[in-house]
């Protein structure tokens, strides 16, 4: 045989070996945990890399904090809690593949996730097949709970509450008459912008323009020139903070001092970093309440800061509360099962019974679809270049 073939064999074995080494480590972990059969694993799925890693990370850390607090309580019951964060990369394919992994491992009794509705929708089909409870801390798309899946729940408001809430506020409180709608051509941005547009038109405002921008661009002067000529008195943006920050900044540079409003996707400290002083007179609707408004919230923020060295983001507390609801359901299921490890079905049915769980930012009670009956939409305003903005209004169902 030629030396080439020898190389190819060598090369492929080397590659395979490296694969195995990687998995070998994994095996150790698995065997280590299976010695003690009373392990309960909780997964989080959110983008830990990519453009919205910031928000995804905060969900993970929030859940992690809750888990660490509850660890003791579960140990007393005789169970060991473990959190396994998964990175869905905001990619549906990756999300589904992770979902299969999670669904396959019987130790998992529930999941906190996702950030992106586009990932949550296909992944939840897998959770449904595996009877795994999903508590969403952030998904607002209507379709998430509208497909009649019994394992899907969320603790935040839906787009068909959030969009109209923004429209109502803009028109009734701010007196907007000519509205320009921009969205980022993603599932999330389009959904939210459409909901806003529909509500704004119903309330009698004129939508003078509806434009899409490309994610990842840095020059939005094209759209801003449209704003300049259409002269709207209010701009709504459906999308994420990076694009919104740049749009606001570039618009202010051109002398547009009108109010801008974004959805929960712009609710991030990075927005202020990007837009700087331009962020004044910017509103955002959020499904996340002001964590620091209450005493417990302040304490949470301090814990979070000391633990992870980071300021809280809007979804930190929602990750925390989602994990809270999840653990509450598991605890109830353990009790109902006579202190034994409950099945996933039991956890799901216990979760559906949750009616008044008091979290840090929201009260949680699920309806038949899995939507939170206490979900509210909050409207914030930036009076100065400091995150978060100050709470300006609240709209509930």
């Amino acid at each position: 045989m030629g030396i080439k073939k020898y190389f190819s064999v060598l090369g492929s074995t080397a590659l395979l070996m490296s694969l195995m080494v990687g998995c070998g480590g994994n095996d150790e972990k698995e065997t280590g945990s299976s010695k003690d059969s009373k392990v309960i694993k909780i997964a989080t799925q959110s983008p830990l890399s990519g453009g919205s890693a910031n928000l995804g990370e905060s969900i993970k850390l929030g859940a992690q904090l809750k888990l660490e607090e509850q660890k003791k309580a579960f140990e007393d019951l005789g169970f060991e809690l473990q959190l396994v964060p998964y990175d869905d990369q905001a990619d549906p394919k990756k999300g589904v593949a992770n979902a299969q992994l999670i669904g396959a491992d019987a130790d998992y009794l529930g999941l906190v996730g996702h950030l992106n509705s586009g990932v949550a929708i296909p992944s939840s089909e897998i959770y449904e097949k595996n009877n795994l409870l999903m508590v969403s801390p952030a998904n607002t798309a209507v379709d998430v709970t509208e497909r009649g899946l019994k394992t899907v729940t969320r603790i935040v408001a839906r787009d068909d509450l959030q969009g109209p809430a923004g429209a109502q506020y803009a028109i009734e409180k701010l007196g907007a008459k000519k509205i320009f709608v921009i969205q980022d051509k993603t599932a999330y941005g389009t959904g939210l912008a459409d909901a806003f547009k529909k509500a704004a038109e119903e309330k009698g405002a004129e939508v003078v323009g509806y434009e899409g921008v490309t994610i990842g661009e840095k020059d939005f002067n094209g759209v801003i020139n449209q704003l300049l000529s259409k002269k709207p008195d209010f701009v709504f943006f459906g999308g994420m903070y990076t694009e919104f920050g740049l749009i606001v900044k570039q618009a202010r540079e051109k002398g547009l001092e009108i109010p801008f409003m974004g959805g929960d996707g712009v609710d991030s400290s990075t927005l202020v970093e990007i837009a700087g002083d331009a962020v004044k007179n910017v509103y955002y609707t959020s499904v996340a309440g002001d964590t620091k408004a209450t005493e417990e919230g302040k304490k949470f923020a301090e814990n979070y800061k000391s633990k992870f060295g980071k300021e809280i983001e809007s979804f930190s507390a929602y990750g925390y509360d989602a994990a809270g609801v999840l653990l509450e359901s598991i605890k109830n299921a353990i009790e109902a099962n006579g202190k034994k490890l409950p099945t996933r079905e039991q956890v799901v049915s216990e979760a559906k019974k949750v009616q008044d769980y008091q979290g840090i930012v929201t009260k949680v009670g699920f309806d038949d679809k899995g939507d939170n009956t206490y979900a509210e939409v909050y409207i914030y305003k930036f009076n100065e270049a400091k995150y978060p903005g100050s709470l300006d209004g609240k709209v509930s169902k």
Binding site: G212, V213, G216, G222, N225, Q226, L228, G245
Partner: protein
């Protein structure tokens, strides 16, 4: 509709000019390398991006040390531009050494694949370093040159709306022009430039004429990458916020510009860049108005690519290829 187009025209022209200037300088880097090696240096967009990050990091350091407050901003910019372009210049030379030189005799396909690989590597390296330092990879520099200058376009034609120009836009365009003229002079009037042109025409013959081909190629990469890095700094100053993924699509557009103007042709690249910037800005501002919302602004990229495809198929030498080639 016509009213909208005309009234926004002055502003569209200014914004298009700024964007076009960025495209034009990046396109120069593509064109120079292509002219000599007949290689699409995919990593060039990434060098631009690296330049933007280095520049922003320098600005942040300067302002952190308090220099930015005492130094005239223009001087700081000049300093950052020089440092960044030297660094990215060496980065370009290094990339050529490691990833392209061993492949000079290999099929084109392989070199191109290597270039794509380098581009991915750089993206992730920059992401990694920024994330390690900062927690996330979206970087916002200190805002500089934000003074707005108003241009009374309405006094020229009453249906024009007044336009605004940021002082950083002026700096961007002026620097771009200076760099282009400098490069043009270098390539056409100096001995090294002559060597570059000789290598571009025929590498083997050039080496017979006692030209050190490897050195000339390194020099080309140094110049192209230095220009790319400097453009990155200007871009970061102009738009403020950068991320590691700006290079790829911008590089692609710049390549389109280079092709549009006739690849391998320095003056063509400048014209191509400006034309592309103007077309894109015009499309972004007017497309949805003209087509009454059937095509939204996102289609502007589609048009950029369609232009690229049409030019490549029907006039591969570029629109300005011939006319300019005669002058050189």
């Amino acid at each position: 509709m016509i009213e909208h187009i005309i009234s926004t025209l002055p502003q569209v022209l200014i914004d298009g000019l700024a964007l076009g200037a960025v495209y034009a300088i990046i396109a120069l880097g593509y064109t120079m390398v292509y002219g000599i090696l007949e290689l699409i240096n995919f990593a060039h967009g990434e060098i631009f991006m690296t330049g933007a990050f280095i520049g922003t990091a320098l600005f942040i350091t300067l302002s952190g040390l308090g220099f930015l407050a005492v130094m005239p901003a223009l001087l700081a910019l000049l300093l950052v531009l020089i440092v960044t372009s030297i660094l990215t210049g060496f980065l370009g030379v290094g990339i050529e050494r490691v990833a392209y030189r061993p492949l000079r005799k290999a099929p084109k396909l392989i070199t191109l694949i290597s270039a794509i690989g380098v581009s991915f590597l750089l993206q992730d390296l920059v992401r990694f370093i920024t994330e390690l330092k900062k927690g996330n990879y979206i970087l916002t520099g200190p805002s500089l040159f934000t003074e707005q200058i108003s241009i009374k376009a309405s006094s020229i034609l009453s249906s024009f709306a007044d336009a605004q120009i940021k002082s950083s836009t002026i700096i961007l365009v002026v620097t771009a022009i200076v760099m282009m003229i400098g490069l043009d002079y270098f390539v056409n009037r100096t001995k090294w430039g002559m060597a570059m042109r000789a290598v571009a025409q025929d590498r083997d013959t050039a080496s017979l004429m006692s030209i050190n081909v490897n050195k000339v190629i390194s020099l080309t990469f140094f110049l192209g990458s230095a220009l790319g890095g400097a453009t990155g700094v200007l871009f970061a100053v102009q738009y403020g916020t950068i991320d590691p993924y700006i290079g790829f699509i911008l590089g692609l557009k710049a390549f389109t510009a280079a092709v549009l103007g006739g690849i391998g042709n320095i003056r063509g690249a400048m014209v191509g860049g400006l034309v592309l910037g103007l077309i894109e800005m015009f499309a972004a501002a007017n497309l949805s108005v003209i087509t009454s919302n059937v095509f939204t602004a996102e289609y502007k990229d589609v048009f950029a690519f369609i232009i690229l495809i049409i030019v490549l198929i029907y006039k591969p030498e570029g629109i300005f290829g011939k006319a300019v080639a005669e002058k050189v």
